[in-house]
Amino acid sequence: MSATPVLDAEPFRDADLKKGSRFWLSPWHLVLLPIALVMVLPLLWMVVTSLQTLNETRHYPPTLLPNSLEWNNYRAVLQEAPFARWFLNTLIVTVVVVIGNLLFCSLAGYAFARIKFFGREVAFVLILATLMVPFQVIIIPEFLIVRRLGMIDSLGALILPNLAGAFGIFLLRQFFRTLPIELEEAARIDGCSRLGVLFKIVLPLSGPALATLAVITFMWTWNDFLWPLITIYNPDHMTLQLGLATFQGAHSSTTNLLMAANVLSLLPILVLFFVAQRYFIRGIATSGLKG
């Protein structure tokens, strides 16, 4: 009997991750609970402060229980600054960048994983090496390029330079290489082109890696501050993080409004993390596995 393993379908099962999580209390929880508390406290404080009156926020010692729930803080924030506009800008930039990364990193990652071409290894190492270049080093050249393209102070400046990244290419290449190559060979004999193989066979089997890349790219883009700060001046073109910073400058004394603004900007990320956290775990847990 040959030892070649039969290709097992669906190599990733949620059940594998859930195994062992049925115990509701283990000694580890005694260690983890205080740490979790320390982590959650600032977040909680932020939410509480956002619901307090200005006087309550100045109370010493600070109170963690508000006397009343001042939902008006949120209304005030939304009136004083174009939060809806900023939210929409951020959403546009983030969604386009995520889609761009999924598409372009898939294409590049697949080429590096499976297509033999001259200089493949060298090109891949060069791309990997760019991961080691700090962003601060390339800010000025990147700014000059974007200005030459006439994109300064537009959402294009935030989108175009981030449509593909070395990290995504690396992540997907590594994942694609773990897929059994016979599947792709079978598909090519069945009549697929290279692109057909990528879109009909490889990508449908790469859910966990794609989800991981999408979530990470989403977080990076949503939270990006430095690059928007440099390229965007018009308040109507600002993203949430940048807008929040300008709002902070103008409302440094009204802590409750500031915290309400913070909560608003943080909400989407929190939701995303709760929805997609298993993909973080899967992405990390499966990248070293090969059935």
Partner: protein
């Protein structure tokens, strides 16, 4: 349906590894051709070149009159069954079967008809909605077969399709395969290292070693008349016993065995004796003393391992010139008897040899020596 031709095909991998060396073979229309050999002999590479998964270094492969060297895999009109089946894990059985047809823009209702035809032939009708992960090994194997059949290709390539099945299922599927081929008459190239599959399935067998075609012919011919030491040692189970011998005046002497072989030139030779041709000696038959060591009853026969005086020879790969006899005064020997014969370990038997059934090889070249008598 057209045949398939290898014309002086060579494949050299990076690093100068010659996987297939000047390989020529013509598979006739509708023929079941077996490529058999030990692992690393180039048989799978030869198959993958037909599929278009490996580039051909030199020579040509044609299907019918059409040279396919530079044709992409999808335009070659071939179908392949992989050793590990390579079913698409994210598709149901139906979609796996329909995928190739869909890629070729076959109309939907025709796809349904053709898939139906294949599934009822292979008994897959109840599994259409399942994913590959929900199938047993045998079912997966049948889906893989179905995926190839549904395309109605010009040639059918199978790469060790039975090696992932358990022994019982393998025998059953082997029979199914043969029946299927008799019914459909598709030109088939079947790669295996299992010589039982090679013997039972093929119209003809191509024995390969070291990238070189060693012998080509119907299975029985290859078994009866191996052209060299490699084929002699590879085809047959248990394998042929190969003893070093000296030939003088038409008599080959190996240990205490002397075989009269008319017309045999003087020199070093190797005598090959199939285990099933050895008998307990009767009368004045040439014989040798056999020390029984291990007895393996099989039910329909009994395999006996032991030793005789003389020197054993290992089968080289290909037509390697240098033969190294294994050290020792005594040579291990295997014999296969009728089930009624039950020797006990430690017993000494006189083993008779029918000179007409002994094979003789040139010890220098490894080639079979033509028998004049």
């Amino acid at each position: 349906m057209p045949g398939l031709t290898f014309d002086h095909v060579t494949k050299v991998f990076a690093g100068d590894t010659v996987a297939v060396d000047n390989f020529s073979l013509s598979v006739k229309d509708g023929e079941f051709m077996i490529l058999v050999g030990p692992s690393g002999c180039g048989k799978t590479t030869a198959l993958r070149m037909v599929a278009g998964l490996e580039r051909i270094t030199s020579g040509t492969i044609s299907i019918g009159d059409r040279v396919i060297n530079d044709v992409s895999p999808r335009d070659r009109d071939i179908a392949m069954v992989f050793q590990n089946y390579a079913l698409y894990p994210h598709m149901t059985v139906y979609k796996n079967l329909a995928f190739g047809l869909k890629q070729r823009r076959v109309p939907k209702d025709e796809i349904a008809i053709r898939v139906k035809g294949v599934t009822s032939m292979l008994g897959l009708d109840d599994l259409l909605g399942r994913r590959p992960a929900q199938l047993s090994g045998g079912q997966r194997q049948r889906v893989a077969m179905g995926r190839a059949l549904v395309r109605q290709p010009a040639a059918f390539l199978l790469d060790e399709p039975l090696s992932n099945l358990d022994a019982k299922l393998r025998v059953q599927v082997r029979g199914d395969l043969k029946r299927l081929h008799q019914r459909l008459d598709i030109t088939t190239v079947y790669v295996t290292h299992d010589q039982v599959e090679a013997m039972t399935l093929g119209d003809r067998v191509a024995v390969m070693s070291g990238g070189v075609l060693q012998q080509l012919g119907p299975p029985q011919d290859v078994y009866d008349l191996p052209v060299n030491l490699f084929v002699a040692g590879f085809i047959g189970s248990p394998p042929m016993n190969l003893l070093r011998a000296t030939s003088r005046d038409g008599v080959a002497t190996a240990g205490d065995l002397s075989l009269l072989i008319p017309g045999l030139a003087d020199g070093e030779v190797v005598v090959g004796l199939r285990p099933e041709h050895l008998r307990i000696a009767e009368g004045d038959q040439p014989a040798m003393e056999f020390h029984v060591e291990v007895v393996e009853p099989l039910g329909d026969g009994v395999i006996v391992h032991g030793s005789v005086a003389g020197q054993l020879v290992t089968a080289p790969s290909g037509t390697q010139a240098v033969l190294s006899p294994l050290p020792g005064e005594r040579a291990e020997l295997t014999a296969k008897f009728e089930p009624t014969v039950r020797p006990t370990p430690g017993e000494r038997l006189r083993l008779g040899v029918d000179p007409a059934k002994a094979h003789v090889f040139d010890a220098r070249t490894g080639d079979a020596i033509a028998r004049t008598g």
